[in-house]
Amino acid sequence: MDLSGILDYLVGFAIMAMIYAIFALGLNVHWGFTGLFNIGIAGFFALGAYTAALLTSPPPDPEQFEDFIFGGNLAQHGLLNFGIDLWFVVGIAAAAAVCGIVALIIGTITLRLNDDYLSIATLGIAESVRFFFLNEKWAANGSKGLYRIPKFMGDLVAPENYDYLYLVVVLIVLALLFAAVQRAVRSPWGRVLRAIREDETATAAAGKNIFHFKLQAFVFGSMVMGIGGALFAHHVRFLSPLTFDPLLATFVIWAMLMVGGSGNNVGAVLGAFVVWGVWAGTQFLPGVFADPSFRLCMIGVLIVAIMLLRPGGLVGEWRRMVVRTTAPPATRDPTGFD
Protein backbone atom coordinates (compact mmCIF):
# COMPACT_ATOMS: atom_id res chain seq x y z
CA MET A 1 0.00 0.00 0.00
CA ASP A 2 1.41 3.35 -0.94
CA LEU A 3 1.46 6.37 1.32
CA SER A 4 -1.71 8.01 0.01
CA GLY A 5 -3.49 4.68 0.35
CA ILE A 6 -2.48 4.49 3.99
CA LEU A 7 -3.61 8.06 4.51
CA ASP A 8 -6.97 7.32 2.89
CA TYR A 9 -7.37 4.35 5.15
CA LEU A 10 -6.54 6.37 8.25
CA VAL A 11 -9.05 9.06 7.28
CA GLY A 12 -11.77 6.45 6.87
CA PHE A 13 -10.76 4.96 10.20
CA ALA A 14 -10.88 8.32 11.96
CA ILE A 15 -14.33 9.09 10.55
CA MET A 16 -15.74 5.84 11.90
CA ALA A 17 -13.98 6.18 15.25
CA MET A 18 -15.33 9.72 15.65
CA ILE A 19 -18.86 8.64 14.76
CA TYR A 20 -18.58 5.92 17.39
CA ALA A 21 -17.18 8.50 19.80
CA ILE A 22 -20.48 10.37 19.45
CA PHE A 23 -22.36 7.23 20.49
CA ALA A 24 -19.97 6.74 23.40
CA LEU A 25 -20.68 10.33 24.50
CA GLY A 26 -24.41 9.62 24.38
CA LEU A 27 -23.96 6.43 26.38
CA ASN A 28 -21.81 8.34 28.84
CA VAL A 29 -24.74 10.67 29.53
CA HIS A 30 -26.93 7.61 30.10
CA TRP A 31 -24.64 5.28 31.99
CA GLY A 32 -21.46 7.14 32.89
CA PHE A 33 -23.17 10.04 34.59
CA THR A 34 -26.72 8.96 35.38
CA GLY A 35 -26.43 5.18 35.73
CA LEU A 36 -29.16 4.46 33.16
CA PHE A 37 -28.55 0.99 31.76
CA ASN A 38 -29.33 1.40 28.05
CA ILE A 39 -28.62 -1.86 26.22
CA GLY A 40 -30.49 -0.86 23.10
CA ILE A 41 -28.15 1.72 21.59
CA ALA A 42 -28.69 -0.02 18.23
CA GLY A 43 -32.30 1.20 18.27
CA PHE A 44 -31.33 4.88 18.47
CA PHE A 45 -28.46 4.25 16.04
CA ALA A 46 -30.91 2.83 13.48
CA LEU A 47 -33.60 5.45 14.06
CA GLY A 48 -31.11 8.27 13.60
CA ALA A 49 -29.55 6.73 10.52
CA TYR A 50 -32.83 5.86 8.79
CA THR A 51 -34.42 9.21 9.62
CA ALA A 52 -31.57 11.17 8.07
CA ALA A 53 -31.30 8.80 5.10
CA LEU A 54 -34.99 8.72 4.28
CA LEU A 55 -35.36 12.48 4.48
CA THR A 56 -32.49 13.16 2.12
CA SER A 57 -32.63 10.27 -0.38
CA PRO A 58 -34.51 10.66 -3.64
CA PRO A 59 -37.73 8.63 -3.87
CA PRO A 60 -37.22 5.27 -5.60
CA ASP A 61 -38.18 4.53 -9.20
CA PRO A 62 -41.66 2.93 -9.00
CA GLU A 63 -40.76 0.64 -11.96
CA GLN A 64 -37.99 -0.98 -9.99
CA PHE A 65 -39.42 -0.87 -6.49
CA GLU A 66 -43.05 -1.78 -6.03
CA ASP A 67 -42.90 -2.03 -2.27
CA PHE A 68 -40.51 0.73 -1.44
CA ILE A 69 -42.26 4.06 -1.75
CA PHE A 70 -40.59 6.38 0.69
CA GLY A 71 -37.88 8.97 0.20
CA GLY A 72 -38.12 12.58 1.34
CA ASN A 73 -35.63 13.89 -1.18
CA LEU A 74 -35.08 17.09 0.72
CA ALA A 75 -31.95 17.57 -1.35
CA GLN A 76 -33.99 18.41 -4.45
CA HIS A 77 -35.96 21.15 -2.73
CA GLY A 78 -34.36 24.40 -3.80
CA LEU A 79 -35.71 26.12 -0.73
CA LEU A 80 -33.07 24.68 1.52
CA ASN A 81 -30.19 24.57 -0.93
CA PHE A 82 -28.29 27.71 -0.19
CA GLY A 83 -25.17 26.13 -1.60
CA ILE A 84 -24.25 24.60 1.74
CA ASP A 85 -26.70 21.73 1.70
CA LEU A 86 -28.87 22.87 4.55
CA TRP A 87 -31.10 19.82 4.06
CA PHE A 88 -28.33 17.76 5.54
CA VAL A 89 -28.55 19.80 8.74
CA VAL A 90 -32.31 19.35 8.72
CA GLY A 91 -31.80 15.58 8.39
CA ILE A 92 -29.47 15.53 11.39
CA ALA A 93 -31.87 17.65 13.45
CA ALA A 94 -34.74 15.36 12.51
CA ALA A 95 -32.68 12.30 13.49
CA ALA A 96 -32.04 13.86 16.90
CA ALA A 97 -35.70 14.82 17.25
CA VAL A 98 -37.01 11.36 16.37
CA CYS A 99 -34.63 9.70 18.86
CA GLY A 100 -35.56 12.28 21.47
CA ILE A 101 -39.29 11.63 21.03
CA VAL A 102 -38.85 7.85 21.19
CA ALA A 103 -36.68 8.23 24.30
CA LEU A 104 -39.29 10.51 25.85
CA ILE A 105 -41.97 7.86 25.35
CA ILE A 106 -39.87 4.95 26.64
CA GLY A 107 -38.53 7.01 29.50
CA THR A 108 -41.90 8.30 30.62
CA ILE A 109 -43.15 4.73 30.82
CA THR A 110 -40.14 3.05 32.44
CA LEU A 111 -38.09 5.59 34.38
CA ARG A 112 -40.48 5.73 37.34
CA LEU A 113 -40.01 2.00 37.80
CA ASN A 114 -37.08 -0.13 38.86
CA ASP A 115 -33.89 0.29 36.80
CA ASP A 116 -34.34 -3.09 35.14
CA TYR A 117 -37.37 -1.95 33.17
CA LEU A 118 -35.41 0.62 31.22
CA SER A 119 -32.86 -2.02 30.16
CA ILE A 120 -35.56 -4.39 28.98
CA ALA A 121 -37.42 -1.61 27.19
CA THR A 122 -34.32 -0.34 25.38
CA LEU A 123 -33.35 -3.86 24.35
CA GLY A 124 -36.89 -4.38 23.08
CA ILE A 125 -37.05 -1.10 21.16
CA ALA A 126 -33.72 -1.83 19.46
CA GLU A 127 -34.96 -5.16 18.14
CA SER A 128 -38.35 -3.69 17.22
CA VAL A 129 -36.77 -0.92 15.15
CA ARG A 130 -34.57 -3.44 13.34
CA PHE A 131 -37.46 -5.80 12.56
CA PHE A 132 -39.65 -2.90 11.51
CA PHE A 133 -37.19 -1.85 8.81
CA LEU A 134 -36.58 -5.50 7.89
CA ASN A 135 -40.23 -6.42 7.41
CA GLU A 136 -41.93 -3.20 6.36
CA LYS A 137 -40.50 -3.04 2.87
CA TRP A 138 -42.41 0.12 1.96
CA ALA A 139 -40.51 2.06 4.57
CA ALA A 140 -36.88 1.42 3.63
CA ASN A 141 -36.64 -1.42 1.10
CA GLY A 142 -36.46 -4.14 3.75
CA SER A 143 -33.48 -6.45 3.76
CA LYS A 144 -32.24 -5.21 0.36
CA GLY A 145 -31.36 -2.04 2.11
CA LEU A 146 -31.42 1.65 1.45
CA TYR A 147 -28.87 3.13 -0.92
CA ARG A 148 -28.33 6.29 -2.95
CA ILE A 149 -28.02 8.18 0.34
CA PRO A 150 -26.55 11.51 -0.73
CA LYS A 151 -23.24 12.97 0.33
CA PHE A 152 -23.15 16.16 2.31
CA MET A 153 -21.69 18.88 0.07
CA GLY A 154 -20.72 16.12 -2.34
CA ASP A 155 -20.31 18.56 -5.23
CA LEU A 156 -17.64 20.53 -3.47
CA VAL A 157 -14.70 18.16 -3.94
CA ALA A 158 -13.68 15.31 -6.20
CA PRO A 159 -15.20 11.97 -5.12
CA GLU A 160 -11.78 10.47 -4.32
CA ASN A 161 -11.07 13.28 -1.89
CA TYR A 162 -14.52 13.43 -0.38
CA ASP A 163 -13.56 11.61 2.84
CA TYR A 164 -11.22 14.43 3.77
CA LEU A 165 -14.10 16.87 3.67
CA TYR A 166 -16.35 14.53 5.64
CA LEU A 167 -13.63 14.05 8.22
CA VAL A 168 -13.78 17.78 8.92
CA VAL A 169 -17.58 17.71 9.05
CA VAL A 170 -17.62 14.85 11.57
CA LEU A 171 -14.86 16.48 13.57
CA ILE A 172 -16.87 19.70 13.85
CA VAL A 173 -20.03 17.86 14.92
CA LEU A 174 -18.10 15.77 17.44
CA ALA A 175 -16.42 18.88 18.85
CA LEU A 176 -19.76 20.66 19.22
CA LEU A 177 -21.39 17.67 20.89
CA PHE A 178 -18.39 17.14 23.15
CA ALA A 179 -18.56 20.75 24.27
CA ALA A 180 -22.32 20.54 24.82
CA VAL A 181 -22.12 17.31 26.83
CA GLN A 182 -19.11 18.47 28.78
CA ARG A 183 -20.75 21.75 29.70
CA ALA A 184 -23.94 19.96 30.72
CA VAL A 185 -22.36 17.31 32.91
CA ARG A 186 -19.97 19.70 34.64
CA SER A 187 -22.80 22.00 35.61
CA PRO A 188 -25.20 21.65 38.55
CA TRP A 189 -27.39 19.64 36.14
CA GLY A 190 -24.65 17.04 35.77
CA ARG A 191 -24.03 17.11 39.49
CA VAL A 192 -27.61 16.01 40.08
CA LEU A 193 -27.18 13.22 37.51
CA ARG A 194 -24.06 11.92 39.24
CA ALA A 195 -25.82 12.12 42.58
CA ILE A 196 -28.66 10.02 41.16
CA ARG A 197 -26.09 7.52 39.92
CA GLU A 198 -24.55 7.31 43.41
CA ASP A 199 -27.72 7.18 45.50
CA GLU A 200 -31.24 7.94 44.33
CA THR A 201 -32.77 7.98 47.81
CA ALA A 202 -30.28 10.51 49.11
CA THR A 203 -30.71 12.67 46.01
CA ALA A 204 -34.49 12.66 46.44
CA ALA A 205 -34.03 13.63 50.10
CA ALA A 206 -31.92 16.55 48.86
CA GLY A 207 -35.00 17.79 47.06
CA LYS A 208 -34.30 16.68 43.51
CA ASN A 209 -37.05 15.28 41.31
CA ILE A 210 -35.33 12.04 40.29
CA PHE A 211 -37.74 11.16 37.50
CA HIS A 212 -37.42 14.51 35.73
CA PHE A 213 -33.64 14.47 35.76
CA LYS A 214 -33.44 10.86 34.59
CA LEU A 215 -35.87 11.61 31.78
CA GLN A 216 -33.86 14.64 30.67
CA ALA A 217 -30.64 12.64 30.70
CA PHE A 218 -32.21 9.78 28.79
CA VAL A 219 -33.68 12.05 26.11
CA PHE A 220 -30.51 14.13 25.77
CA GLY A 221 -28.22 11.08 25.48
CA SER A 222 -30.56 9.48 22.94
CA MET A 223 -30.57 12.64 20.81
CA VAL A 224 -26.77 12.59 20.77
CA MET A 225 -26.96 8.98 19.58
CA GLY A 226 -29.43 9.99 16.87
CA ILE A 227 -26.94 12.53 15.51
CA GLY A 228 -24.30 9.79 15.47
CA GLY A 229 -26.67 7.61 13.46
CA ALA A 230 -27.30 10.40 10.94
CA LEU A 231 -23.57 10.98 10.39
CA PHE A 232 -23.11 7.24 9.95
CA ALA A 233 -25.81 7.11 7.26
CA HIS A 234 -24.18 9.83 5.18
CA HIS A 235 -20.77 8.22 5.56
CA VAL A 236 -21.57 4.59 4.73
CA ARG A 237 -24.39 5.68 2.38
CA PHE A 238 -25.95 2.24 2.49
CA LEU A 239 -28.21 1.06 5.29
CA SER A 240 -29.66 -2.35 5.85
CA PRO A 241 -31.30 -3.67 9.00
CA LEU A 242 -28.34 -6.02 9.35
CA THR A 243 -26.08 -3.02 9.96
CA PHE A 244 -27.73 -2.54 13.32
CA ASP A 245 -27.10 -5.89 14.94
CA PRO A 246 -26.53 -5.67 18.68
CA LEU A 247 -22.85 -6.63 18.43
CA LEU A 248 -21.60 -3.75 16.31
CA ALA A 249 -24.24 -1.21 17.30
CA THR A 250 -24.58 -1.77 21.06
CA PHE A 251 -21.91 -4.05 22.47
CA VAL A 252 -18.97 -2.30 20.79
CA ILE A 253 -20.13 1.08 22.14
CA TRP A 254 -20.37 -0.30 25.66
CA ALA A 255 -16.86 -1.70 25.21
CA MET A 256 -15.64 1.75 24.17
CA LEU A 257 -17.06 3.43 27.26
CA MET A 258 -15.74 0.74 29.61
CA VAL A 259 -12.28 0.80 28.07
CA GLY A 260 -11.99 4.58 27.86
CA GLY A 261 -13.45 5.40 31.24
CA SER A 262 -17.09 5.68 32.18
CA GLY A 263 -17.97 9.07 33.61
CA ASN A 264 -15.28 10.88 31.64
CA ASN A 265 -16.00 12.37 28.21
CA VAL A 266 -12.35 12.33 27.23
CA GLY A 267 -12.39 8.64 28.13
CA ALA A 268 -15.44 8.03 25.96
CA VAL A 269 -13.70 9.51 22.91
CA LEU A 270 -10.41 7.77 23.68
CA GLY A 271 -12.19 4.45 24.17
CA ALA A 272 -13.90 4.83 20.81
CA PHE A 273 -10.55 5.20 19.07
CA VAL A 274 -8.90 2.33 20.99
CA VAL A 275 -11.72 -0.19 20.53
CA TRP A 276 -12.34 0.77 16.92
CA GLY A 277 -8.57 0.49 16.43
CA VAL A 278 -8.62 -3.06 17.74
CA TRP A 279 -11.65 -3.91 15.63
CA ALA A 280 -10.26 -2.37 12.44
CA GLY A 281 -6.65 -3.31 13.07
CA THR A 282 -7.27 -7.01 13.58
CA GLN A 283 -8.65 -7.38 10.06
CA PHE A 284 -5.05 -7.30 8.81
CA LEU A 285 -4.13 -10.35 10.84
CA PRO A 286 -3.35 -13.47 8.79
CA GLY A 287 -5.78 -16.28 8.11
CA VAL A 288 -8.39 -17.22 10.62
CA PHE A 289 -7.38 -14.40 12.94
CA ALA A 290 -8.96 -11.90 10.57
CA ASP A 291 -12.31 -13.61 11.08
CA PRO A 292 -14.91 -11.19 12.55
CA SER A 293 -15.70 -13.54 15.41
CA PHE A 294 -12.04 -13.65 16.41
CA ARG A 295 -11.84 -9.87 16.13
CA LEU A 296 -14.80 -9.53 18.49
CA CYS A 297 -13.03 -11.88 20.87
CA MET A 298 -10.10 -9.49 20.88
CA ILE A 299 -12.43 -6.70 22.05
CA GLY A 300 -13.58 -9.06 24.81
CA VAL A 301 -9.98 -9.70 25.81
CA LEU A 302 -9.36 -5.96 25.86
CA ILE A 303 -12.34 -5.42 28.18
CA VAL A 304 -11.14 -8.14 30.56
CA ALA A 305 -7.63 -6.71 30.58
CA ILE A 306 -8.93 -3.20 31.34
CA MET A 307 -11.25 -4.48 34.06
CA LEU A 308 -8.34 -6.26 35.73
CA LEU A 309 -5.66 -3.63 35.31
CA ARG A 310 -7.58 -0.35 35.30
CA PRO A 311 -11.14 -0.96 36.49
CA GLY A 312 -12.08 2.69 36.00
CA GLY A 313 -11.06 2.62 32.34
CA LEU A 314 -7.99 4.12 30.67
CA VAL A 315 -8.58 7.57 32.11
CA GLY A 316 -11.37 6.98 34.65
CA GLU A 317 -13.57 9.58 36.24
CA TRP A 318 -11.75 12.73 37.26
CA ARG A 319 -12.35 14.19 40.66
CA ARG A 320 -13.54 17.77 40.53
CA MET A 321 -11.13 19.61 42.77
CA VAL A 322 -11.47 23.13 44.04
CA VAL A 323 -8.76 25.42 45.28
CA ARG A 324 -9.08 25.67 49.02
CA THR A 325 -9.95 29.23 49.91
CA THR A 326 -9.10 28.93 53.60
CA ALA A 327 -5.81 27.92 55.15
CA PRO A 328 -5.62 24.17 55.77
CA PRO A 329 -5.13 23.00 59.36
CA ALA A 330 -1.54 22.03 60.13
CA THR A 331 -2.42 18.42 60.83
CA ARG A 332 -5.48 16.30 60.86
CA ASP A 333 -7.34 16.30 64.13
CA PRO A 334 -5.45 13.77 66.27
CA THR A 335 -8.45 13.00 68.48
CA GLY A 336 -9.29 10.21 66.15
CA PHE A 337 -11.81 10.93 63.45
CA ASP A 338 -11.18 7.50 62.04
Partner: protein
Protein backbone atom coordinates in the same frame (compact mmCIF):
# COMPACT_ATOMS: atom_id res chain seq x y z
CA UNK B 1 -44.24 21.31 79.56
CA UNK B 2 -41.08 23.39 79.48
CA UNK B 3 -41.40 26.45 77.29
CA UNK B 4 -38.63 27.83 75.12
CA UNK B 5 -36.23 30.17 76.82
CA UNK B 6 -37.02 33.82 76.26
CA UNK B 7 -40.62 33.20 75.34
CA UNK B 8 -43.50 33.82 77.68
CA UNK B 9 -46.23 31.31 78.29
CA UNK B 10 -48.61 33.41 76.21
CA UNK B 11 -46.57 33.21 73.00
CA UNK B 12 -45.87 29.52 73.24
CA UNK B 13 -44.56 28.24 69.92
CA UNK B 14 -47.14 26.69 67.61
CA UNK B 15 -46.69 23.15 66.31
CA UNK B 16 -44.55 22.75 63.15
CA UNK B 17 -45.26 19.04 62.63
CA UNK B 18 -48.49 17.29 63.49
CA UNK B 19 -48.84 13.55 62.87
CA UNK B 20 -52.45 12.49 63.22
CA UNK B 21 -53.57 8.88 63.55
CA UNK B 22 -50.98 7.64 61.03
CA UNK B 23 -50.78 3.95 60.18
CA UNK B 24 -48.34 2.07 57.95
CA UNK B 25 -48.68 -1.59 57.02
CA UNK B 26 -46.05 -3.70 55.29
CA UNK B 27 -48.04 -6.71 54.16
CA UNK B 28 -49.32 -8.16 57.40
CA UNK B 29 -46.95 -6.20 59.61
CA UNK B 30 -48.22 -2.96 61.12
CA UNK B 31 -45.04 -0.89 61.58
CA UNK B 32 -46.77 2.32 62.63
CA UNK B 33 -50.09 1.92 64.41
CA UNK B 34 -52.43 4.95 64.70
CA UNK B 35 -49.55 7.14 65.78
CA UNK B 36 -50.26 10.74 66.76
CA UNK B 37 -47.67 13.26 67.86
CA UNK B 38 -46.82 16.94 67.67
CA UNK B 39 -43.46 18.69 67.37
CA UNK B 40 -43.31 22.32 68.45
CA UNK B 41 -41.51 24.95 66.42
CA UNK B 42 -38.01 25.76 67.60
CA UNK B 43 -37.59 22.70 69.80
CA UNK B 44 -35.07 19.88 69.68
CA UNK B 45 -37.47 16.99 70.10
CA UNK B 46 -36.20 13.49 70.77
CA UNK B 47 -37.81 10.29 69.53
CA UNK B 48 -36.79 7.14 71.37
CA UNK B 49 -38.10 3.63 71.66
CA UNK B 50 -36.93 0.04 71.46
CA UNK B 51 -35.80 -1.49 68.16
CA UNK B 52 -38.74 -2.11 65.86
CA UNK B 53 -40.89 0.55 67.49
CA UNK B 54 -41.51 2.18 64.11
CA UNK B 55 -39.36 5.30 64.55
CA UNK B 56 -37.54 5.17 61.23
CA UNK B 57 -40.74 4.19 59.43
CA UNK B 58 -42.39 7.26 60.92
CA UNK B 59 -39.52 9.41 59.59
CA UNK B 60 -39.93 7.83 56.18
CA UNK B 61 -43.63 8.65 56.25
CA UNK B 62 -43.05 12.25 57.28
CA UNK B 63 -40.29 12.81 54.70
CA UNK B 64 -42.31 11.20 51.93
CA UNK B 65 -40.08 8.18 51.28
CA UNK B 66 -43.14 6.05 52.13
CA UNK B 67 -46.85 6.79 51.77
CA UNK B 68 -48.97 6.15 54.88
CA UNK B 69 -51.67 3.48 54.84
CA UNK B 70 -53.91 5.78 56.85
CA UNK B 71 -53.91 9.04 58.78
CA UNK B 72 -52.72 12.55 58.07
CA UNK B 73 -49.49 14.50 58.46
CA UNK B 74 -49.40 18.30 58.66
CA UNK B 75 -46.20 20.30 58.31
CA UNK B 76 -46.08 24.04 58.79
CA UNK B 77 -49.86 24.19 58.65
CA UNK B 78 -50.28 22.19 55.45
CA UNK B 79 -51.15 18.56 54.66
CA UNK B 80 -48.05 16.71 53.46
CA UNK B 81 -49.09 13.05 53.71
CA UNK B 82 -48.46 11.28 50.42
CA UNK B 83 -46.07 13.92 49.04
CA UNK B 84 -42.87 12.61 47.48
CA UNK B 85 -39.44 13.34 49.07
CA UNK B 86 -38.55 16.24 46.78
CA UNK B 87 -41.90 17.83 47.54
CA UNK B 88 -41.53 17.63 51.33
CA UNK B 89 -38.03 19.06 50.84
CA UNK B 90 -39.54 22.00 48.99
CA UNK B 91 -41.79 22.64 52.00
CA UNK B 92 -38.72 22.97 54.21
CA UNK B 93 -38.30 19.47 55.59
CA UNK B 94 -34.94 17.70 55.36
CA UNK B 95 -33.95 14.33 56.71
CA UNK B 96 -30.79 12.32 57.26
CA UNK B 97 -30.38 8.57 57.18
CA UNK B 98 -29.62 6.04 59.88
CA UNK B 99 -26.89 4.57 57.71
CA UNK B 100 -25.22 7.54 56.01
CA UNK B 101 -26.05 7.82 52.33
CA UNK B 102 -23.08 9.81 51.10
CA UNK B 103 -22.55 10.21 47.36
CA UNK B 104 -19.45 8.05 47.23
CA UNK B 105 -17.73 9.03 44.02
CA UNK B 106 -18.34 12.74 44.53
CA UNK B 107 -16.25 15.05 46.66
CA UNK B 108 -17.34 16.29 50.06
CA UNK B 109 -17.84 19.73 48.54
CA UNK B 110 -20.02 18.36 45.72
CA UNK B 111 -22.10 16.46 48.28
CA UNK B 112 -22.97 19.81 49.81
CA UNK B 113 -23.27 21.86 46.64
CA UNK B 114 -25.90 19.45 45.36
CA UNK B 115 -28.38 20.44 48.04
CA UNK B 116 -29.46 24.09 47.54
CA UNK B 117 -32.83 24.26 45.83
CA UNK B 118 -33.78 25.97 42.57
CA UNK B 119 -30.25 26.26 41.18
CA UNK B 120 -30.53 27.79 37.72
CA UNK B 121 -27.74 25.49 36.49
CA UNK B 122 -29.97 22.51 37.12
CA UNK B 123 -31.83 23.43 33.95
CA UNK B 124 -30.10 21.92 30.93
CA UNK B 125 -30.75 24.96 28.72
CA UNK B 126 -29.27 27.34 31.25
CA UNK B 127 -25.95 25.46 31.25
CA UNK B 128 -25.55 26.29 27.54
CA UNK B 129 -27.33 29.61 27.19
CA UNK B 130 -26.46 31.47 30.39
CA UNK B 131 -23.23 29.86 31.64
CA UNK B 132 -22.06 33.09 33.27
CA UNK B 133 -25.16 33.16 35.45
CA UNK B 134 -24.64 29.53 36.43
CA UNK B 135 -20.98 30.21 37.23
CA UNK B 136 -21.85 33.16 39.43
CA UNK B 137 -24.38 31.06 41.32
CA UNK B 138 -21.89 28.20 41.67
CA UNK B 139 -19.42 30.59 43.19
CA UNK B 140 -21.96 31.65 45.79
CA UNK B 141 -23.04 28.08 46.60
CA UNK B 142 -19.41 27.00 46.90
CA UNK B 143 -18.73 29.78 49.40
CA UNK B 144 -21.78 28.69 51.38
CA UNK B 145 -20.64 25.06 51.31
CA UNK B 146 -17.14 25.97 52.52
CA UNK B 147 -18.70 27.91 55.36
CA UNK B 148 -20.82 24.92 56.40
CA UNK B 149 -17.75 22.66 56.18
CA UNK B 150 -15.87 24.97 58.52
CA UNK B 151 -18.80 24.80 60.90
CA UNK B 152 -18.77 20.99 61.10
CA UNK B 153 -14.97 20.68 61.03
CA UNK B 154 -14.75 18.96 57.66
CA UNK B 155 -13.06 21.83 55.79
CA UNK B 156 -9.79 19.93 55.45
CA UNK B 157 -11.59 17.17 53.53
CA UNK B 158 -13.19 19.46 50.97
CA UNK B 159 -11.74 17.63 47.95
CA UNK B 160 -11.92 14.13 49.41
CA UNK B 161 -14.31 11.62 47.88
CA UNK B 162 -17.20 11.17 50.30
CA UNK B 163 -16.81 7.39 50.08
CA UNK B 164 -13.37 7.66 51.71
CA UNK B 165 -14.63 9.35 54.88
CA UNK B 166 -14.80 7.53 58.21
CA UNK B 167 -18.17 6.55 59.66
CA UNK B 168 -18.25 9.52 62.00
CA UNK B 169 -17.24 11.97 59.30
CA UNK B 170 -20.06 10.66 57.13
CA UNK B 171 -22.47 11.44 59.96
CA UNK B 172 -21.14 14.99 60.06
CA UNK B 173 -21.49 15.19 56.29
CA UNK B 174 -25.15 14.21 56.61
CA UNK B 175 -25.67 17.02 59.10
CA UNK B 176 -23.74 19.43 56.89
CA UNK B 177 -26.03 18.60 53.98
CA UNK B 178 -29.07 19.55 56.03
CA UNK B 179 -27.45 22.89 56.85
CA UNK B 180 -27.02 23.61 53.13
CA UNK B 181 -30.76 23.35 52.62
CA UNK B 182 -31.88 26.13 54.99
CA UNK B 183 -34.72 23.91 56.19
CA UNK B 184 -37.43 24.73 58.68
CA UNK B 185 -37.15 21.31 60.24
CA UNK B 186 -34.57 18.54 60.19
CA UNK B 187 -35.22 14.88 60.89
CA UNK B 188 -32.03 13.23 62.18
CA UNK B 189 -32.06 9.44 62.26
CA UNK B 190 -29.55 8.26 64.87
CA UNK B 191 -26.93 10.97 64.33
CA UNK B 192 -24.82 9.59 67.16
CA UNK B 193 -24.73 5.92 66.20
CA UNK B 194 -21.20 4.59 65.78
CA UNK B 195 -19.31 7.80 66.38
CA UNK B 196 -16.89 8.56 69.17
CA UNK B 197 -17.43 10.94 72.10
CA UNK B 198 -15.32 13.79 70.69
CA UNK B 199 -17.19 13.77 67.43
CA UNK B 200 -20.52 13.43 69.22
CA UNK B 201 -19.75 16.58 71.20
CA UNK B 202 -19.02 18.41 67.93
CA UNK B 203 -22.26 17.12 66.52
CA UNK B 204 -24.32 18.19 69.53
CA UNK B 205 -22.76 21.65 69.46
CA UNK B 206 -23.60 21.97 65.79
CA UNK B 207 -27.19 20.94 66.34
CA UNK B 208 -27.67 23.43 69.15
CA UNK B 209 -26.02 26.16 67.13
CA UNK B 210 -28.21 25.48 64.09
CA UNK B 211 -31.26 25.38 66.31
CA UNK B 212 -30.53 28.76 67.87
CA UNK B 213 -28.79 30.64 65.06
CA UNK B 214 -30.69 29.29 62.09
CA UNK B 215 -34.03 28.77 63.77
CA UNK B 216 -34.22 25.10 62.75
CA UNK B 217 -36.53 22.66 64.52
CA UNK B 218 -34.88 19.28 65.14
CA UNK B 219 -36.61 15.94 65.48
CA UNK B 220 -34.06 13.32 66.45
CA UNK B 221 -34.15 9.55 66.72
CA UNK B 222 -31.34 8.44 69.02
CA UNK B 223 -30.45 5.46 71.17
CA UNK B 224 -27.68 7.19 73.12
CA UNK B 225 -29.60 8.15 76.28
CA UNK B 226 -26.98 10.60 77.49
CA UNK B 227 -27.27 12.45 74.17
CA UNK B 228 -31.09 12.43 74.26
CA UNK B 229 -31.44 13.46 77.87
CA UNK B 230 -29.05 16.40 77.56
CA UNK B 231 -30.02 17.60 74.09
CA UNK B 232 -33.71 16.97 73.69
CA UNK B 233 -36.76 18.51 75.25
CA UNK B 234 -39.37 17.18 75.00
CA UNK B 235 -38.78 13.48 74.41
CA UNK B 236 -41.36 11.29 72.69
CA UNK B 237 -41.32 7.54 73.28
CA UNK B 238 -42.63 5.05 70.73
CA UNK B 239 -43.28 1.34 71.17
CA UNK B 240 -45.09 -1.08 68.88
CA UNK B 241 -45.87 1.62 66.35
CA UNK B 242 -47.46 4.23 68.57
CA UNK B 243 -46.56 6.89 71.12
CA UNK B 244 -46.57 5.67 74.71
CA UNK B 245 -45.11 8.66 76.51
CA UNK B 246 -44.11 12.25 75.97
CA UNK B 247 -42.64 14.96 78.13
CA UNK B 248 -39.44 16.46 79.54
CA UNK B 249 -36.57 13.94 79.80
CA UNK B 250 -36.65 13.37 83.59
CA UNK B 251 -40.37 12.59 83.52
CA UNK B 252 -40.08 10.24 80.57
CA UNK B 253 -37.26 8.37 82.28
CA UNK B 254 -39.48 7.62 85.27
CA UNK B 255 -42.56 6.65 83.24
CA UNK B 256 -43.50 3.03 84.09
CA UNK B 257 -44.77 2.31 80.58
CA UNK B 258 -41.43 3.42 79.13
CA UNK B 259 -39.58 1.16 81.51
CA UNK B 260 -41.81 -1.70 80.51
CA UNK B 261 -41.26 -1.10 76.82
CA UNK B 262 -37.49 -1.04 77.25
CA UNK B 263 -37.16 -3.83 79.79
CA UNK B 264 -39.91 -6.06 78.45
CA UNK B 265 -41.95 -6.21 81.66
CA UNK B 266 -42.95 -4.26 84.74
CA UNK B 267 -40.35 -4.32 87.49
CA UNK B 268 -42.98 -5.68 89.86
CA UNK B 269 -44.71 -7.97 87.36
CA UNK B 270 -44.08 -11.65 86.66
CA UNK B 271 -40.65 -12.38 85.22
Amino acid sequence: MLGNEGKSELTKSPPILRVHDVTKDFGGVRAVDRCSLTVMRGTITGLIGPNGAGKTTLFNLVAGALAPTGGEIFFDGRQISGLRPHQTFARGLMRTFQIPRELRRMTVLENLMLVPARQSGERLWATWLTPWKVAREEHRIQAQALEVLELVNLAHLVNELAGNLSGGQKKLLELARTLMAKPKMVLLDEPGAGINRTLLRDLSANIVRASVERDVTFFIIEHDMRFVMTMCDPVIVMANGSVIAEGPPPEVQRDPEVLEAYLGGRPDGPA
